[in-house]
């Protein structure tokens, strides 16, 4: 800032300050509108049926080197018979632009209630796996993952 401007707030500073204020105000609200919360996403999957903790084992490393490919394994306690099996396993995240990750449809022919995959996590957050059983009950397990970011980002050109 030049000496002349020191005594008063320059016009440019006002514009900058105003712009920054708008940005700060705008960001959280649009984000909230853009995606459902983790709980809302789970409710959308279960149709509001209460989810019980247990039966589900969500295996994900607590700290990952890159959020682009995070290995996830979900196993559910189930005999996987025609009368008692896992119908679906859904994965949801807390802080990506979208809450949904994937929904896996199993059934007795899947033989084992266990899936593994690789997912993207935009930042450190909570991940939840929800299993829908053939009796209509829902079970879940969650985990916190810390995502470390690369120090240098390569340009795209």
């Amino acid at each position: 800032m030049s000496v002349e401007q020191r005594g008063h707030i320059g016009r440019r500073d006002l514009i900058l300050a105003g712009g920054a204020g708008l940005l700060v105000l705008a960001l959280p609200s649009t984000r909230a509108l853009a995606r459902p919360s983790l709980q809302e996403a789970v409710n959308g999957f279960t149709g509001g049926t209460p989810v019980q903790p247990g039966k589900v084992k969500l295996d994900v490393p607590p700290l990952v080197e890159n959020g682009n490919a995070v290995g996830v394994t979900v196993a559910v306690e189930s005999p996987m018979t025609a009368s008692d099996h896992v119908r679906r396993i859904a994965l949801f995240n807390e802080k990506n632009p979208q809450a949904d990750v994937a929904v896996f449809s199993l059934g007795p022919r899947a033989a084992r209630a266990r899936i593994a995959t690789r997912i993207r996590l935009a930042t450190s957050q909570t991940l939840i796996a929800v299993a829908e059983l053939s009796d209509g009950s829902y079970w879940s397990s969650s985990a916190n993952v810390i995502v470390t970011l690369a120090a240098c980002i390569e340009d795209l050109s």
Partner: protein
């Protein structure tokens, strides 16, 4: 993150002349990775780099260009004819009187023998062929040729490796010789041994070449990167291979 980067810069700048890493202390990038990333690299049914290897295998057997020949028409089974080839490149190319890297050699075969269109560097097909051919040398030690005609380029590569560049004024050696035990933000610095190229990098979400990796470091220190295929990259690769002599090839490597 910025504060850490600045700290790292100070660290590097404060370091006395970087020493080369003794052979006994050499470690592949694999050793710096998490157990999860290592498991992905080590299982061919989970390693996404294998998708490029398979693509390369298809191309190897596919006739291309005016000559109507495939790589296999001349070279036969890659498992035998290409075993150990990637371990020796870059090599001296008598025709051009200069060192040539594996990607350059593949493209030379393509344009001159198959009379086909040149494959641009970093194109999926070029990376696929390089990954397939590189994969044939997996487990073999890097063995840069003992060829006096390569000496000048190798020396130039060493000079470039030790030359400070970019707005951050860092040489490759400032980090990869002097500070390989350190971390840059959340990432391990590593020793920069080219054992797994082309690699599947989680950051890229795809396979890329050693030149792309070096380009990334140059952009990172805010230097103007060399153009793909530049003699400087090939000189650097020659030096890196002499620096990593005897280390086993891991292609397709997986890196964060």
């Amino acid at each position: 993150m910025k504060a850490r980067l600045a700290l790292m810069v100070l660290l590097c700048a404060g370091e006395a002349a970087a020493q080369e890493i003794p052979a006994a202390e050499r470690r592949s990038g694999t050793d710096f990775m998490s157990a999860q990333t290592r498991a992905v690299q080590e299982d061919d049914t989970a390693n996404p780099g294998m998708l490029w290897v398979l693509q390369g295998e298809t191309l190897w057997n596919e006739p291309a260009g005016a000559a109507g020949r495939s790589c296999a028409s001349c070279h036969g089974e890659a498992a035998t004819s290409m075993r150990g080839v990637a371990a020796r490149y870059p090599a001296f190319d008598a025709a051009s009187g200069a060192p040539i890297d594996l990607a350059g050699k593949i493209d030379q075969c393509r344009t001159e023998r198959q009379k086909a269109k040149s494959l641009p560097r970093e194109s999926e097909d070029a990376l696929g062929l390089a990954a397939y051919i590189g994969h044939q040398s997996r487990g073999m030690p890097i063995a840069s040729p003992d060829d006096a005609r390569l000496d000048a380029a190798r020396a130039e590569g060493k000079r470039l490796f030790e030359t400070r560049m970019g707005q951050l004024n860092l040489a490759c050696s400032s980090c990869h010789d002097a500070n390989w035990r350190g971390r840059l933000g959340g990432s391990a610095v590593t020793q920069a041994h080219p054992t797994g190229y082309p690699i599947y990098r989680l950051e890229w979400q795809a396979v890329g070449s050693l030149q792309r990796r070096m380009r990334g470091c140059m952009v990172g220190v805010r230097a103007e990167p060399f153009a793909y295929g530049a003699a400087e990259y090939i000189a650097l690769e020659l030096y890196l291979n002499s620096r990593a002599a005897e280390m086993p090839i891991e292609t397709p490597g997986v890196r964060p």
